[in-house]
């Protein structure tokens, strides 16, 4: 087999994420956080939507408890991604605990975008490491410079992410359960946008997986993973 395309795709994704990381650095410092605090957020929290939400609350005069609450509501979905990815991650307890920090939207999507289930872990790692590096470097640059290269939305970068996620989710759309899960997830998420606080629409969209299973049953075995490949793990 040729080298999987997830390396190149992950680098491109990382660069795109970098524009938003710079934006985070700028926003965070202008909201009153120090450069060190801003960089600590990107290193330790490392889930973009939560970071933006938290510093936005602070910037608009909110209290730290609300900031943490908003951030955590947006971070919760990473736990659901983790449930799906757990059986694909190999190696020691320590290694998997470290990889857990990389479990976010982009790395999960890069993992599930792989045709071969054996490549899922590679996709998660490539996507996660690339985004981690670009996100943190860009945060530092934005925080120190205090201004961004420009509004990434002018270039349509905000639409590049959802489109990229559709592309990476494509393998799951080849079977009926995956199609129903995606469609119901999107519908639930859309309906919840004006009704619930940020973060909750995506959490609620998880119900799409349950609805799909109840209506059309489990996906074909190709996507339901083999037993844990512990053999040969480091």
């Amino acid at each position: 087999m040729s080298r999987p395309s997830y390396i190149r795709d992950s680098v491109i994704m990382g660069i795109a994420v970098g524009f938003f990381g710079m934006g985070f650095g700028v926003l965070s410092v202008s909201s009153g956080l120090s450069v060190a605090q801003t960089c600590a957020m990107s290193l330790l929290v490392f889930t973009g939507a939560s970071q933006f939400a938290a510093v936005s609350v602070i910037g608009s005069g909110g209290d730290p408890i609300s900031a943490v609450g908003s951030g955590l509501l947006l971070a919760a979905r990473n736990g659901l991604y983790g449930i799906s990815l757990a059986r694909h991650l190999t190696g020691s307890w320590l290694r998997r605990s470290a990889v857990a920090q990389l479990v976010i939207d982009e790395s999960t999507a890069m993992g599930m975008g792989q045709e071969d289930p054996a490549d899922i872990e590679g996709g998660v790692l490539a996507g996660g490491i690339s985004v981690f590096l670009f996100w943190n470097l860009a945060t530092l640059i934005g925080a120190v410079a205090g201004s961004s290269i420009g509004d990434p939305n002018v270039f349509g970068l905000d639409a590049a992410f959802p489109a990229g996620f559709i592309s990476l989710a494509a393998p799951a759309l080849r079977h009926r359960p995956g199609q129903v899960a995606a469609a119901t997830g999107a519908i639930i998420g859309t309906v919840a946008i004006p009704l619930t606080p940020p973060g909750l629409p995506i959490l609620l969209s998880a119900l799409g997986a349950v609805i799909a299973l109840l209506i059309v049953g489990p996906p074909p075995a190709q996507l339901s993973p083999q037993p844990n490949p512990e053999v040969g793990a480091e």
């Binding site: 395309s5 491109i12 909201s31 600590a40 957020m41 330790l44 929290v45 490392f46 939560s50 938290a54 510093v55 602070i58 943490v68 951030g71 955590l72 971070a75 979905r77 990473n78 736990g79 659901l80 983790g82 449930i83 799906s84 059986r87 991650l89 307890w93 998997r96 605990s97 857990a100 599930m112 002018v154 349509g156 970068l157 905000d158 639409a159 590049a160 959802p162 489109a163 990229g164 559709i166 592309s167 990476l168 989710a169 494509a170 995956g178 899960a181 995606a182 997830g185 999107a186 519908i187 998420g189 859309t190 946008i193 940020p198 995506i202 799409g208 299973l213 996906p219 339901s224 993973p225």
Partner: protein, 104 residues
């Protein structure tokens, strides 16, 4: 924002990740759990796609909006359907959205 609040947010965010990867994801086995595990990513990612495409922040909170993003994401979805690889999809969506904004 204090260091304490940052530590709390970081611990909570990592706690979610760890609970999924090391906890629930390892404990839940069997046919149903396996099927849910396989179906969660498409459900969640399409919920995310909906939010990133349709939600906007306003003074009164988050609401639904149809704007240039929808045109770009729709163009990207067509590109996916036509078998265009990831990079082509991403560029298509960005160019269409950027173009619609420049015109609007």
């Amino acid at each position: 924002m204090s260091w304490g609040a940052i530590a709390l947010l970081a611990a909570g965010a990592y706690g979610f990740k760890l609970a999924g990867v090391m906890g629930l994801g390892r404990l839940l086995t069997g046919t149903w759990a396996t099927a849910i595990g396989a179906l969660l990513p498409p459900a969640l990612l399409f919920g995310l796609v909906a939010v990133q495409t349709l939600a906007i922040d306003t003074e009164e909170g988050v609401r639904l909006a149809i704007d240039a993003r929808l045109a770009g994401v729709a163009a990207g979805a067509i590109a996916v359907w036509r078998g265009i690889p990831f990079v082509g999809v991403v560029v298509t969506a960005a160019v269409v959205t950027g173009g619609v904004r420049a015109l609007g």
